[in-house]
């Protein structure tokens, strides 16, 4: 499989926010940190451009 970069600036998706609103502020920050670390790792491997969604 060939590695390719993809565009990750996306349109507004209200379902992502709806999911987040079910969490506490602390849970949102923890989920974000997991997503951020993953995004950082993927960016290092040139799979994606930052930023991505935290959900």
């Amino acid at each position: 499989m060939t590695k390719s970069k993809s565009t990750t600036i996306r349109d507004y998706d209200p379902t992502l926010v709806q999911d987040n609103l079910k969490k506490t502020p602390e849970e949102r920050l923890i989920a974000h940190e997991r997503a951020r670390v993953l995004a950082e790792e993927l960016a290092k491997q040139q799979w994606i451009d930052l930023p991505i969604s935290s959900t």
């Binding site: 926010v17 987040n20 502020p25 602390e26 940190e33 951020r36 670390v37 930052l50 991505i52 935290s54």
Partner: protein
Amino acid sequence: MTDLTQLLKVLLQSELPFVLIGGYAGISYGTSHVTQDIDICMQLTPATIDQLRHILEQYRPVIRTPQRLSFATNPGDTSQVKNLYLSTTLGPLDILSEVIGVGDFDTVRKNAKKILLFGFQCFVISLDDLIKTKKTLNRPKDQLVLHELEHIRAERST
């Protein structure tokens, strides 16, 4: 490895008066975009900058310029500092003495919401003020988050 939640915990543990602003504040409200730094608003005086140096010492803070000067000794004269843009081993930390479109620390703090994070009370910029600053800044990344923030405000008011 960077760890923004740990960086926030370090700041909260320090009891330094600050308000969480920017993308991280948006995430605490429910936005879904990933941010790569923590932004805070606080009064920047020689005394508070000394406190920051002490708090961040073990995380090897440097000023985020090409020279990457150590924050331990730079800037030498801290009497006129308005903003600090630091890199630490836990991640980037931006410290602003005022929020564009809202005002100085006292104004931001007066309107801020207090929430419990990791066992500490944390002042977070109010949703209205966050929307106000995003509208004022109006960069493409602000416009993306603005849609979400306005959706969240509408949800909260129902």
